[in-house]
Amino acid sequence: MKVAGAGGAVVTLPVMAAGCGPKAHLGAGARPAGAHQTYFDQFGLGRELIEKTLRRALGRGGDFAEVFCQHKISHWLGMEDGQVDRAYTQVRLGAGIRVLKGDATGFAYCEDLTEEALLRTAAAAATVADGTPIARPRSLVAVPHVSQYQVKLPWSEVGVERKLPIVQRAEKLARSRDGRIVKVTVFLEDDVSRILVATSEGRLVEDDQPMTTLRVSCTGRSQGVTETSGQSVASMDDLSFYTDEVIRKCAHEAADYTTLLFGAGSPPVGNVPVVLAPGVTGILLHEAIGHGMEADFNRKGTSIYAGRIGKRVAPKDVTVLDDGTAPRRFRGSINVDDEGQAAARTVLVEGGILRSYMHDRISARHYGLKSTGSGRRQDYRYPPNPRMRNTFMLPGPSSPEEIIRSVKHGLYAEMFTNGQVMIGAGDFTFYLKHGRLIENGKLGPVVKDANLIGNGPRVLEQVDMVGSDLRMHSGAGYCGKDGQMVPVGFGLPTVRAHGMSVGGRKS
């Protein structure tokens, strides 16, 4: 059995991950007509049954109840050794029911949408309270929204034959990029997720959440040395996302990131000035600082940022946002969160001052604030938590060249693949797949295979140059917390930081 380590959170960029697991296309059928019906009517889950389930959920005196239904269909199409010879499907259909009593949560889910199963599940969640009903659920009223992420052609209507050329093209481009590339694996993933959130306060919210990811992994061989790397791209989009340019860039970068490792040395170990390249390095912002600003850790007093709203946590050039309303190519974008709240743009740090945590319903109530639309969950099998969406630092006054020039000897960190933070202590470790040395204010040779270690809040305090070149990571980032993975976006301009130590093999 797995027991998750406590107090830690992990981010992964699965550029190297081979897809596996399920999919299917199984569109549930035509969308039912009529203003009073929801997508889930076709599963026999009409409004009356949802209301009955909410009544059962409040049957023991809970303050609030919520039904979260989801039908998610994911497909993977894989290519290895020159053949598209594997496909996977996962269909998830189920309902998670949550009952709140004060700060306490009762949560139960089932993968069977019959009345009997739903009522049994509601009764299980209801046991977080142990009295008689106080609140009665209000009649459900649909709360409409305009989707920012509508697609023209849902993935459920795209056959394998239309996906094959994307995978084949990516493989060919990566393989032919460099003679030293000996193996290429490509996975194309598409997801269609339909959610419904119904609350005892009478809100009924539905949303469609498309997502697609292309992952290219390469193995290179040269003079007896093997190197591996890869690249991914992701967007909340349909087939039209995969233009020639998008496929070519992903495939070429996967190959280039692999071959540049040949002959790369190890960076000097110890405390060196670090310049973070723009883009994927935003993972450091996410991990080392962002998690500490999620309100659940602060509500419990366990975050290093607990009790520091209004205090200076960074120099004045540092402004950090977490934005759910971003464009579709940023993976953490959402129309509504998984509690049915509209997405928002949350200023976490403004001019160096800590302004806000990220809230879900429970923490917002605890602090007497409005939710920031940050209540997210992996799927119906999990209760929501405050989670990041797209986290980034706004551009600052310095040019990237000026920042690099300001460092005599240091490390230019370009590609992180994973990281972890201890939320209470703030200590983090990031794996640097590749970067460059900075020698006399200029970018020097490529270095690889090292960890950047430090303390998140301390590093944020010591950011002393912020570049004008904010770039968002375009790939498939996942964030893991409380045993749940959710897609996230992140980004950073070129940034100069101190107080990190580089750990690696001695060259």
Partner: protein, 450 residues
């Protein structure tokens, strides 16, 4: 109960054949889990989960695909199978995809693995679970130094699952498992705003196999408090000990390159090392799927092949790869099994205290952070925390340090295993003592120039 699941799995095979699959294998599973979290004097969260689903592997006209669904309504299931078969026909044929040889599925272990505690599952009691979660927190708060606690949580959980598998080649299997766990998580005050977290747990296949709750709670508090004031030591080569509870993470990195995919895709630094010494003579490990009560125990594997014990390392010599039917065929080798079951280590004579005494001076690692291991090259790098040991005893806490090297060197530097196999995992690894290992941490001063 499982008979119903087996019937369902066979029904699915029938549907697959009806729609044109030559071969197929299907697993149907059902599980329940219940968790209570008690935090800072009151109930914080209860979770009650019921899963019911199917996984299906299809072989259609020499083509392969694999699928899962939790939508088991009869009409949806028929459509699911039909559509996934239609999809499979668009793929390239792959001659290496086939069901395992039926001979490899026969002769499965017949004894009782004791991985399902029927009376324990029947005795499930939500009230008792709450009491246990509360008792875990109370124990954490009864420990010495508890006044420094910022937050403490007790978590009591249990789960039971059943699964049936059937394949068109005739393979049929059923299994039931249960597990029970007690967890405590404690955050304490430290210098500045730091709040280190300590965590401890116990787990068992049987309800009655769990140790005393008090010990779990107190240990979590101890582990939080001992991190207070942690700081990096200077970079250097030191002897080190990796505590049993975390050593499995490092060892799993040595296993990753033994998988068929890594070897066939030329991403394994161990591909050519079968029969060679890749670790010191102290490392003897057996993969034992039939370990009584083991978290990795099973009579058949994910493909339906009968499990059997095998030597993994014998005095440091690599004895097996983990090959499923597909990658074994691609490599022209005999399949073994896709992944490890229970790993049982030949222990040494001394416990952790004895290992520290033997080391004298060095680093005792009690936690890892982040990190990465490259299965193609064997290079790895990982953040660590723990204690600086001097005179055979931990003298001050360590954090923000990094352990890095190459597996081929690291495991040759293994000088001793402890007598303390970790009981709460399928990897029953004892504490490990290495000498020497490269650490980086604090340097005397940052180079000028920035």
């Amino acid at each position: 109960m499982s008979k119903e699941l087996l019937g369902k799995a066979k029904d699915v095979l029938g549907i697959a054949r009806k729609h044109g699959a030559k071969d197929a294998s299907a697993s149907v599973y059902r599980s329940r889990s219940s968790v209570v979290e008690w935090r800072d004097g009151k109930l914080d969260r209860i979770k009650e989960n019921t899963r019911f689903g199917l996984s299906l592997t299809l072989y259609v006209d020499g083509r392969y695909s694999s699928h899962g669904t939790s939508d088991l309504r009869p009409e949806a299931l028929d459509r699911f199978v039909r559509e996934t078969i239609a999809m499979t026909r668009h793929l390239a044929p792959d001659p290496h995809r086939k069901l395992p040889d039926p001979a490899r599925c026969r002769g499965a272990f017949k004894g009782d693995l004791k991985i399902y505690d029927a009376p324990g599952v029947a005795a499930a009691d939500p009230v008792a679970r709450r009491r246990a979660a509360k008792a875990l927190e109370d124990a954490a708060r009864s420990a010495e130094g508890a006044k420094e606690i910022v937050s403490a949580t007790g978590i009591s959980g249990e789960s039971a699952s059943e699964e049936a598998m059937a394949a068109t080649g005739g393979m049929e299997g059923e299994r039931r498992t249960s597990s029970f766990s007690q967890v405590a998580v404690v955050s304490v005050r430290d210098k500045g705003a730091r709040k280190p977290t300590g965590f401890w747990y116990c787990a068992d296949r049987r309800r009655g196999g769990l140790g005393p709750i008090e010990a779990v709670g107190r240990e979590a508090t101890r582990r939080a408090l001992e991190q207070r004031g942690a700081a990096p030591e200077p970079s250097g080569q030191y002897p080190c000990i990796i505590e049993n509870a975390v050593a499995g993470q490092l060892f799993s990195w040595l296993l990753a390159p033994l998988g068929g995919s890594a070897i066939q895709q030329q991403r394994s630094f161990l591909a050519d090392r079968l029969g060679q010494a890749v670790a010191s003579e102290h490392l003897t490990v057996r993969d034992d799927p039939h370990l009584v009560g083991g978290f990795g125990s099973a009579t058949y594997d994910g493909e339906g092949m009968a499990t059997r014990p095998r030597d993994l390392f014998e005095r440091g010599v690599l004895r097996t790869f983990y090959l499923d039917t597909y990658y074994a065929s691609k490599l022209g080798k005999e399949p073994t099994t896709a992944s490890p079951t229970n790993l049982v280590f030949d222990p040494g004579p001394r416990d952790l205290r004895g290992l520290c005494a033997a080391m004298g001076k060095g680093i005792l690692i009690t936690g890892f952070s982040g990190g990465n291991s490259n299965s193609a090259s064997g290079n790895f790098s990982i953040g660590i925390r723990g204690h600086w040991v001097e005179g055979g005893r931990p003298v001050r806490p360590v954090a923000e340090m990094n352990l890095a090297g190459n597996h081929l060197q690291l495991w040759k530097a293994l000088v001793e295993l402890g007598s303390d196999p970790f009981p709460f995992s399928s990897t029953r690894i004892p504490s490990l003592r290495f000498d020497p290992v490269q650490f980086s941490g604090m340097d005397s001063k940052a180079p000028a120039g920035a």
